[in-house]
Amino acid sequence: MRQVPVGVLYDLLTSDHEQPWRLTVHFRAFPSDVLLRWDGDSSLRAAYFNSLKEAAYICQGSARGVMDMALQAQNDMWNAVTAGDAEQYASVCSSLLMVPKARGERRPSVPLRLYIRQSHGGYMASLDTATQYTSRPVETVTETGALRSLGEVLRELLSALCAKPEATNSTAGIVSSSEQRDKLDGNAADAEGEVKGEIVEAVSSTNEKPEGGSATMQEKDLLVNGRPAEALINGVSPDLDAPLAWCHANLHSADFFLYIVVAVRE
């Protein structure tokens, strides 16, 4: 079960950032194996705080700060999040001290969720077949303590995610079925279908950009399987030379994860 914030879904699934966003509503065949049914505010709230705890663990090495929050503080936080009240949110958050720090041998890391869209996959394509996803801590500095850039981090993640054999075969990312149980006693034979991904750094010599000044055209493009791709954070194309730590500090979501969409240009 994957819960994707609606803004991320928009960045991920619209190709030309159409507005208004046209959605197709289906009244039959609810995909209960991949989607949670809406059962009220409480499950959303639980998912939010669960995400916040993971983020706290990644930043600080412990989720204590979140788990020890008084109920009143939790309520205040949730109200601020649902109301989009940045001031109240900031005042509750300040007590959490969510600043990434080194712990033990681990360098300071930020919680990051990356969604990759390789194709639209056509009408009725499921999110699972058309996209790839990872949620993980990512270190913000190199061994020598230099800040890692967003581009550097994304290229590494893209090559790790797209080069591994899997992805094509793991259609429904969901458990169930006796087939799963058969595989239970350890074999990795189910990892075949190969998706080769080369992430090459391309200096784009083709600056034949259309009129209306998209001055943010990246010097160095991201490539997924040799196809140019675009990164989006909160609907904005970030400067790939920006330090990851800076991006996280300024663009993280309410649950302190940094959500990034990388979409192959159609």
Partner: protein
């Protein structure tokens, strides 16, 4: 981002609350599997449809995430410790 040794991860399944304690608490699972695999194993072993799973005694990771990634991020002492309960814990 390196893969864990031998492409299998030792997962330590620890009961929390009044969840049944398993006879076999350590299982080896392919590092390529998703975390949802562990949930499925627990459902089967505890004979219960509803299982709540936690890492670091605090949160449940994305079920779609690969075990190798989670091991790298949250494993220690050569294993990934997973707590399970039959009711929500660590709210």
């Amino acid at each position: 981002m390196s893969e864990s040794k031998g492409n299998q991860v030792i997962v330590w399944l620890r009961a929390t609350g009044d969840a049944p304690i398993l006879k076999q608490q350590k299982v080896k699972i392919s590092a390529n599997e998703k975390f949802s695999k562990i949930v499925e194993v627990l459902r089967t072993k505890t004979k219960s449809e509803q299982v709540f799973v936690y890492l670091k005694e605090s949160f449940c990771p994305s079920l779609d995430e690969k075990i190798s990634v989670l091991y790298e991020a949250y494993g220690s002492e050569g294993r990934l410790t997973v707590n399970y309960a039959n009711a929500p814990a660590w709210g």
